[in-house]
Symmetry: C2
Subunit: 255 residues, 2 copies
């Protein structure tokens, strides 16, 4: 039977890509605030995540929630993070549990561990203790902790993906950190598909592309989810690689 997949925040950058690309294989329910195109306007469900009843109404028959909604910037204020990423996230997870949803895929973030990066304490592994670089990052630590509790206590599958920076065009920036955490649209699709289907029931996983300067360990993402990143920012149009085109080969360190 075709899985019904609810994408919250389907109007964001990652959400738009997934809503389009998962539609061939899944019955996709799109949730969001402001539709980004006429097609999306026809189907978008506009529940306010701060209302538990509205969120619960989204869950009918849902097999997997891909939860992208929320305040998505490291600059977010406490009030925004509290409403969207703490209260709104809890409502969504609790509603999924109440409705008997099988699996919850949570868009976590590198920012849950961003202070390691700021201190150049590389590489960063999933088993390192949380060390957020922002209130936004703290809210992602909260989400991972609540998800682990819901998995342990209620048995719902919980897959946290620490998603990097998705962009069609990584060459548009020269910020090393963004290059390091780049996640191509194709790799985004792949890792989320694997998170929906993989034969694991809980885990914290980094999700970035195969960038030569990446600092986050992908071993369990590859081993447990079966993720095989195909892309690197260095191979994209407009990429200016420090040290020139030959650099990636002898460039194992994040710099």
């Amino acid at each position: 039977m075709t899985r019904r997949v609810l994408i919250t925040g389907a109007t964001g950058g990652v959400g738009l890509v997934l809503a389009e690309r998962l539609a061939d294989d899944y019955e996709v329910i799109q949730h969001g605030r402001t539709p980004k195109n006429p097609e999306q306007e026809k189907v978008l469900r506009t529940a306010d995540l701060s209302s538990y009843e509205e969120v619960l109404a989204l869950m009918d028959g849902v097999d997997t929630v891909v939860h992208l909604a929320g305040s998505a910037s490291p600059e977010s204020s406490w009030d925004d993070v509290l409403e969207a990423n703490i209260v709104g996230f809890r409502n969504t997870l609790e509603a999924a549990r109440e409705a008997g949803v099988r699996r919850f895929v949570f868009a976590s973030s590198n920012h849950a561990m961003g202070m390691y990066d700021r201190d150049e304490q590389w590489p960063v592994y999933p088993h390192h203790l949380p060390r957020a670089d922002s209130l936004y990052g703290v809210s992602k630590v909260f989400g991972e902790a609540l998800g682990r509790f819901y998995h342990d206590e209620y048995g719902i599958d919980f897959i946290a993906l620490r998603i990097g920076w998705m962009s069609e065009n990584p060459g548009e920036t020269d910020v090393d950190l963004l290059h390091a955490m780049w996640l191509s649209p194709d790799d985004t699709e792949q890792v989320v598909r694997r998170a929906i289907e993989a034969d694991v029931t809980f885990g914290l996983y980094y999700a970035v592309s195969d960038n030569p300067n990446r600092r986050w360990d992908l071993t369990n993402t590859m081993l447990e989810l079966g993720y095989r990143p195909k892309d690197s920012w260095t191979e994209q149009p407009g990429a200016v690689v420090p040290g020139g085109a030959e650099a990636p080969d002898d460039w194992p360190k994040g710099s």
Copy 2:
């Protein structure tokens, strides 16, 4: 100069002990809701922690906050945890930062890691990933994560004590888990004094007495804070030790 120490939740069990015992060496400010004796009634500050302005008014001249206030039961509802342990805690930490408080001692809990215990995955170390056993436990993970961010970002000292079960009379229960996590009033006083004075600026520390069946590692509490637990529940009046009085000697496992 005598440190001014603000104890939030000074009307709870741990708070009452500390307010009395720290008064000789510190200028103690007691915060709480319902005074427990006539003396406390005279001095108690009754700020509502959900009001940032009221919390900020407590911080004048404070050197160290010992934050015990909050919902303290693993049975706590989401609404209680959200108001007291997430919003109230954040207000207290932010007010401390704004007021230039030197150090924040946070009453965390074994329940931040309670699922390891439920699964008998012993011993539990401070470097293990959070694995809460309740919404209360999740709120403590949130508190530790926010504290780590505040320490890294703003430089405020943050010492998280995963405080066990403080009781005058551990013989009153036959629950093994409570015995294992027992923290005597004397050891409570000692570990909090060390948390106020120790020459470290950040850490997550277990705080339990020297119970033979304890499952939580005290190595960094001893090494970094200088804590030396003096008591064991097995030596208290009314203690019924499984296997009889000889048992503790050959009783390294938690059971």
